[in-house]
């Protein structure tokens, strides 16, 4: 049972979390705490609004002439606009667990507030920085995902690579099951997260980036992954980078 522990909560660090300047390890603990603390979620909502407003105080500076043409040329090259996070997400049934690099990292606090508001109804992607982004995801059933997750609730387990522990996974099997993970700085690049059941069935949950600063990622767990017992992270070459055992 050495891989199961209670992460420390640091609610006094909510301002830094709202500002997006906590390191990955602290963010992981804070997020785990937030899932069960409505008071802190409410304070985070308020502090995030403050952080956004202070950020908007930067003195306006005109870019070089022709900026709008360069933006429009850029947009012409990337295709038609598409809503990544439709309103009414919980009912949308849209799944988009994997995101392109261009889509990562935006709207961290903004989307956290959305997460809190909809009581967790989609997959959450957190970039290598402080970003908490959200990709539209399926509204999974109330089935607990982890075999042995007896009465629901959450637990933590170590992510172990070839040279030892590289991070932690938090699993919350209450309500809409979801999981988050934090990886210490190791510049692993793009990793694919998979859940594996004892029968060998593999469900891919999405991809995320791990830079030299580490990485943090969270996602909702679809009912298709019910019964999964292993979390595994695979790099772009197909090499297994780390695994964790689910209860």
């Amino acid at each position: 049972m050495t891989d199961i522990f209670q992460p420390p909560a640091h609610p006094e660090a909510l301002p830094e979390f709202a500002l997006g300047v906590l390191d990955p390890e602290e963010r992981t603990s804070m997020l785990a705490h937030l899932t069960h603390c409505a008071t802190c979620r409410e304070e985070l909502h308020e502090l995030s609004a403050v952080a956004d407003r202070v950020a908007a105080q930067a003195p306006p500076v005109e870019p070089q002439a022709g900026f709008e043409d360069r933006v429009l040329a850029r947009l012409d090259g990337v295709g038609a606009p598409r809503a990544l996070i439709p309103h009414g997400l919980a009912a949308s049934g849209v799944r988009r667990a994997s995101r392109t690099a261009a889509n990562r990292g935006d709207q961290r606090r903004f989307t956290w507030r959305q997460v809190a508001a909809v009581a967790a109804a989609a997959s959450i992607v957190v970039g290598a920085g402080t970003a908490i982004g959200m990709a539209a995801g399926s509204t999974s059933s109330n089935n607990p995902v982890a075999t042995g997750a007896t009465t629901g609730g959450w637990y933590a387990t170590l992510l172990v690579g070839p040279s030892g522990p590289v991070g932690k996974v938090f699993v919350d099997s209450d309500g809409h099951p979801w999981m988050s993970m934090g990886i210490s700085g190791s510049n692993l690049g793009t990793l694919r997260c998979e859940l594996v059941s004892p029968s060998g069935k593999v469900v891919t949950l999405g991809t995320f980036e791990v830079s030299s600063q580490g990485g943090y990622w969270a996602t909702y767990i679809p009912s298709a992954a019910d019964g999964a017992t292993i979390v595994r992270l695979v790099d772009t070459s197909g090499k297994m980078v780390a695994t964790a055992t689910m209860r």
């Binding site: 660090a13 403050v50 956004d52 202070v54 950020a55 908007a56 105080q57 933006v71 990544l84």
Partner: protein, 197 residues
């Protein structure tokens, strides 16, 4: 004749931008480009990086414009948050904070110089500016460095030459005081100047 685009609301322009209307897109970008670029420049400190981040920010706005919710804040604040987050991610890759912090703080406390910019400055911005000026200066500096430049508490500590615990305390106190002050706005007594003739 339709309504001049210059008289359209921020939300209407964003809607036009997100739907791909060329004229409204140009108007939207022009309306917000200085603020978006300013936020990016505040974090990155170099024009090339700021230009790229500003373009990315508009791309994000274009992709996600349909999910913008006015109840969460103004279009300008929303765009600024997107820009800041992109810029901070960029600095994490570069691990550099080349910003002229002193100049940034001075510009912030002075507010816009240009009369046109002054006129355009929203009440929301003025309110935040007043709330920042109500903080003890050392707290205001700490929260600006964290919120605008994207510095962690340890980076604020290094930049200010103070212990890490002090930096954390300043950031946390400042954020909570700002929240309270913005919830219950206070008068900015410092802007009251004696009459001169």
């Amino acid at each position: 004749m339709g309504i001049p685009v210059s008289s359209l609301s921020d939300e209407a322009l964003l809607s036009g931008f997100a739907s791909g209307d060329r004229e409204l897109s140009v108007a939207f970008i022009r309306r917000f480009q200085s603020r978006v670029y300013g936020v990016a420049l505040a974090v990155l400190g170099d024009q090339t990086g700021a230009e790229d981040v500003a373009q990315q920010a508009f791309e994000r706005a274009w992709r996600h414009g349909s999910v913008y919710d006015a109840r969460r804040g103004s279009v300008g604040t929303w765009l600024a948050a997107i820009t800041r987050n992109l810029a901070i991610d960029s600095t994490r890759v570069k691990k550099a904070y080349p910003v002229e912090i002193g100049a940034l703080l001075a510009a912030m406390s002075a507010g816009p110089n240009d009369p046109e910019d002054k006129a355009l400055e929203s009440e929301s911005r003025r309110e935040v500016g007043r709330a920042l000026r109500q903080l003890p200066p050392e707290q205001a500096r700490a929260v600006v460095l964290a919120a605008m430049v994207g510095m962690s508490a340890s980076q604020v500590a290094a930049a200010e030459g103070i212990p890490l615990g002090t930096a954390k305390t300043r950031i946390r106190s400042a954020m909570r005081r700002l929240r309270d002050n913005l919830r219950d706005p206070v008068l900015d007594v410092r802007v009251v100047e004696p009459a001169s003739d």
